[in-house]
Symmetry: C2
Subunit: 152 residues, 2 copies
DNA sequence: ATTGACTATCAATTATGTTGACTATACCGT
DNA sequence: ACGGTATAGTCAACATAATTGATAGTCAAT
């Protein structure tokens, strides 16, 4: 059997994650576009995915998203330009600034959370609620293992 | 509870896939470097992951990897430069060229397949053989569902 | 033989990611 | 309080990657 055929029939973890990631990303940003947020792009996800309503620090976003802090900086510039966030001084640390979502930002956060929930609900419906929960549980464990942490 | 905390405790499908993908990718290319292939980079995966020993067409690689054919072109340029593949005329279609792995390319393909198998074996050992198989089965199904929906 | 689709490639542009350095502030041990 | 060291965010230069539009050759079906 050809290697490409084998990889098609039994895709490995790298292939599965990349396919699902990019396809989910595509659906996410196309749908966001239809729901009033046409200018946000996948890379902005690094900020919007983890942003807290109370505001977040760039460094925290960098850690959570796995991006360099310089990247977060330019993302925040862009998102500020688009009206999704603004920078405020952090009252607890005068070196830091809080990145705080505007009303538009809050809307986008809740819309994107809803889109992701829809996607997952759709899959759970087909593969079975219980099977999907178990899938997520193992996936979480695999992610922690792969990232080098220990989660029991 | 803060949104970022919630996303940390119950990461969604987008977060899980991106974390695992980039972490697997990092391990893959660091290990490939240690095993005699230091010059290949993640993006070359689009070609090397699907390449057949008998040779593959650029268009097929583009479809399988989800990359534009222009990208495949530059990847093949680089891989040819590094001695991993060469272009041969396709005997069945004079428009097309077959991208054929050299001996070095074949070695890299088998090493990378082995690295990925090691990674998955490691996870299977921890979460349980049976649970991991089930995880992969649901993942495959979710991937097919997602690609069918998000309009590949 | 002509038409429309497909293969690969070129070239130009835009987008994204990486690296090193720098200022201001905080933290810690003394 | 003082010094050294670590951290937060930003600048700027550079390196890599992805997107788009166009082209010449080939194919496949009239």
């Amino acid at each position: 059997m050809r290697r490409s055929t084998r990889k098609e029939e039994s895709p490995d973890l790298g292939i599965l994650t990349s396919r699902v990631l990019f396809s989910v990303q595509k659906e996410m940003f196309e749908t966001l576009g239809l729901r009033g947020h046409p200018r946000v792009r996948p890379r902005h996800g690094a900020v919007m995915a983890y942003l807290d309503a109370e505001g977040s620090r760039a460094t925290d976003l960098a850690h959570q998203s796995g991006q360099h802090k310089q990247v977060i900086g330019t993302l925040v510039d862009e998102l500020a330009e688009l009206g999704y966030v603004r920078r405020e001084p952090d009252p607890e640390d005068r070196r830091a600034k809080l990145i705080v979502p505007t009303d538009l930002g809050l809307d986008m956060m809740s819309v994107s959370d809803a889109i992701m929930a829809d996607i997952e609900r759709r899959h759970a419906l087909v593969v079975g609620e219980q099977a999907y929960d178990e899938f997520k549980r193992i996936f979480h464990k695999v992610a922690d293992l792969q990232l080098g942490r220990g989660k029991d």
